[in-house]
């Protein structure tokens, strides 16, 4: 995956869009335009302690002066969101990467069905901006507990108009993925939100081809029963063989040996560290590499191998 520039941006506005979701707008202190991006893209945000977290851009891709993100405070999370809520006020400096898009809108679709649950609405807002700008057919299903707890609801209404369908569980209106119905040619489904929502969408759209269903998660699959085993890797370029102990990641071992690997989430979500491999059995534990690419691509931050594997490094 490609390298991305990291910029020291300034918080231009910071406001709570719900009691626990902070909406931030960043500007560059000296450049009028930020690197361009497409709907579905995310940026990395670096915390003061060096943690890297991914957030979808939720603003208008046509606005080149600002990056907008929304961060839900997760008090029981890994600490990134709590830090952001406490520290990112107007005028603060934030270390933000250029955007990357693992969740793009599909070209040549007749219709786009966007499904956002809670904070998962953020990439959908950028998609809606893009679809309105290009005059494409879409609908946005926005699922939340209540209007008060629906992040950026006013923006969603303003962008989508009557193409917004709001599903508020406290009002007894729950999104029924069953309404997706049978497969329709040229219709693409995009979903982002809690795992149970994504599971429900996948179950309801069981007959749809994978190519027409797109989901984004910012949390790696939970597999608490996974037991890591040691293995060996060979570097195709030099023939060097390195041992990966059970308690270390392949990424960490590569770095120990001076091999510079880009990385970001180190959870198997962002795809920064993905590299090629050949002749080996890889245990894929990421959620970013598409099935069709897993035969020769792996994410060394979380994925491992049985006994041995040769890396295209």
């Amino acid at each position: 995956m490609s390298a991305r520039l990291i910029m020291k941006l300034r918080v231009a506005s910071a406001r709570l869009t719900t009691p626990d979701v902070l909406h931030l707008s960043f500007i560059h202190p000296s450049r009028p335009e930020l690197p361009a991006w497409t709907p579905g893209a995310h940026v990395d945000l670096r915390t003061a302690s060096g943690k890297i977290r991914q957030y979808s851009l939720c603003g208008d891709p046509a606005d080149r002066a600002h990056y907008e993100i929304a961060i839900k405070r997760e008090d029981a999370g890994r600490g990134g969101s709590v830090w952001a809520h406490a520290n990112l006020d107007v005028g603060a400096e934030a270390h933000v990467s250029a955007p990357r898009n693992n969740f793009p809108l599909r070209e040549n679709a007749h219709r786009h069905i966007l499904i956002g649950g809670g904070i998962g609405v953020t990439p959908m807002l950028a998609m809606a901006h893009g679809l309105v700008a290009t005059n494409q057919d879409f609908e946005l299903h926005f699922c939340a507990r209540s209007e008060k707890e629906a992040p950026m609801l006013a923006e969603a209404k303003a962008i989508c108009g009557d193409r917004l369908q709001l599903w508020l569980s406290t009002s007894g209106r729950r999104f029924d993925p069953g309404q997706l119905g049978p497969v329709r040619d040229g219709v693409h489904i995009y979903a982002c939100g809690p795992q149970r929502l994504l599971d429900a969408v996948r179950a309801a759209a069981a007959g749809w081809p994978d190519e027409q269903i797109h989901a984004e998660v910012f949390q790696a699959t939970l597999d608490e029963n996974f037991k890591a085993e040691p293995f060996d890797i060979m570097l195709a370029s030099t023939g060097a063989v390195l041992h990966v102990p059970a308690d270390r990641s392949l990424l960490a071992v590569l770095r120990d040996h001076g091999i510079q690997m880009p990385s970001s989430c180190e959870l198997g979500v962002c795809g920064s560290c993905v590299c090629g491999y050949r002749d080996g059995v890889v245990i894929h534990r990421d959620v970013v590499i598409p099935l069709g690419a897993r035969q020769d691509r792996m994410a060394p931050c979380v994925s491992r191998a049985r006994v041995s594997v040769t890396l295209d490094l």
């Binding site: 910029m7 270390h95 770095r255 001076g258 510079q260």
Partner: protein, 196 residues
């Protein structure tokens, strides 16, 4: 998932005239003389992939690099690889050529701002390709040309621009610092005689 808690690797520099290229060039006569150039811009980046930041003055440390730069602190993309990276330079004239699409290697001009090319010093009137194996002065600082710089795919990815081919053979010069000091934009750049 294990976490690597080790600090950044220590920078491993090769002395400019001990580099395979610089060592040979230092024993080979030739090269442009009689020129006088100037320092246009100084840029550093705090760590790998970070945007470059312009400085009004910089402290050059002999045998080490420019204070605050990622290669000074061992945080650069290529820091683990021993090399000549204390200071990197590029010619404004090369950037001007890209900006007029000369030669026309891609569909149109490439506008590369001084803060985008990721070399430390942007200079004008300095024949960098002639300075491998040579000593020259930037203000009060003395640099040694260690090897020609060459473009990397990493730069293409960071910039999102196809700069690899058009920068080839005019990507600048990697130098060691023989004598440290403070440099500022506007400083004159001149050749040093062997006796100096």
């Amino acid at each position: 998932m294990s976490v690597d808690v080790k600090g950044p690797p220590r920078p491993r520099m090769i002395e400019a005239f001990e580099h395979a290229a610089g060592a040979i060039a230092a024993q080979t006569p030739g090269g442009a003389t009689g020129w006088r150039g100037s320092l246009l811009h100084i840029h550093i980046a705090p760590a790998a992939s970070y945007e470059m930041e312009e400085l009004d003055e910089a402290i050059c440390v002999a045998g080490r690099g420019i204070e605050g730069d990622r290669y000074f602190s061992g945080l650069g993309t290529y820091s683990p690889k021993p090399d000549v990276r204390e200071v990197t330079l590029i010619e404004q004239e090369a950037l001007d050529a890209l900006n007029r699409n000369d030669p026309p290697l891609q569909s149109g001009p490439l506008k590369i701002e001084p803060r985008d090319h990721r070399r430390n010093l942007t200079v004008r009137g300095v024949p960098l390709n002639h300075l491998v194996g040579r000593r020259f002065r930037v203000g009060e600082v003395v640099l040694r040309g260690g090897r020609l710089n060459f473009p990397c795919k990493y730069l293409e990815e960071l910039l999102g621009l196809p700069v690899f081919l058009p920068l080839y053979n005019r990507s600048g010069l990697n130098c060691g610092i023989e004598r440290g000091g403070i440099i500022r934009p506007g400083d004159p750049i001149t050749m040093l005689d062997e006796s100096e």
